[in-house]
Symmetry: C2
Subunit: 190 residues, 2 copies
Amino acid sequence: MIKELITRNRSYRRFDETVKISSDQITKWIDLARLSASGRNAQPLKYAIVTKAEMCAKIFSFLGWAGYLTNWKGPAEGERPVAYVAVIKDLNIAENHYCDDGIAMQSILLGAVEDGFGGCMIGSVNKAKVAKLLGLNEKQELLYIIALGKPVEKVVIDEAKDGNIKYWRDENGVHHVPKRPIDEIVVFKD
Amino acid sequence: MIKELITRNRSYRRFDETVKISSDQITKWIDLARLSASGRNAQPLKYAIVTKAEMCAKIFSFLGWAGYLTNWKGPAEGERPVAYVAVIKDLNIAENHYCDDGIAMQSILLGAVEDGFGGCMIGSVNKAKVAKLLGLNEKQELLYIIALGKPVEKVVIDEAKDGNIKYWRDENGVHHVPKRPIDEIVVFKD
């Protein structure tokens, strides 16, 4: 059931760092993105897979975490991502990637969740530093980083009240994500 | 298996127009988008559901179809979409919707495919005309239209050769979509 999978596919930011993920496994998730829709079928997105501990540590240092949790500087040692996927636009193929990034990342994360892993799409990235680390050229534009691992946090969906959509953590470390009710987001129905 | 669902989720452009879809069913698919990730969890996307024949005919007249099939003006009568979802950005909530549109549309279409339907994300839209038809205000920006129905065409994935990614139809009406091989899209692996 896709609903069950989508519901389980939360933005996870804390992981069991002892559980590794191979680049072969991640390649299978990227294959799901490959099989997904692409604007004009141009397929300008490329991917970099990072799984080695030293590289992961470097990538980690270039990321911003959970903007609304102002007192939280990101996952502590032992709970950090064990792998990353960099989502890159190949400007030699297309300037406009439409919404391919969202389609692709959703497919990748659904694959990860089905296999018992999870992750988080991160837009707060020091893109110049990551691009340099990965050896990207000027025609390879870094769009997003997906952090991956075996989640160790509980994430629950609440109903947003009065438009307050900031996620928060309760005293037990449970991460709450308020989602707008369906009646608020369907604005026309004939 | 998410791979099976993603593989079945092709961009379908020909439908059995005798098979209708209720707005309640479409609302369930939109709920999958509601439960999906959103940049900063802002959730600026709103949705309009169109299922009535007269409205569908109007929407249809405002769409462009399958740019690479230059001799094809879109689905003939009897094979047109029976419903549409308009994906709208609420500018009162956010100016930047990140890649929420791709995430949301992927979730919606995976729901549709699981239920035996299918569709196509369409960016070639006379947005001013559709906005007027739906009564959108100046703070509601139309992003995409998803066409929906019971697919009657066969779509197959081929491997793109020499970077040729234009989809095409063979003499039996089978729609071929060349996808770049995985080795071409994974540009870094440590």
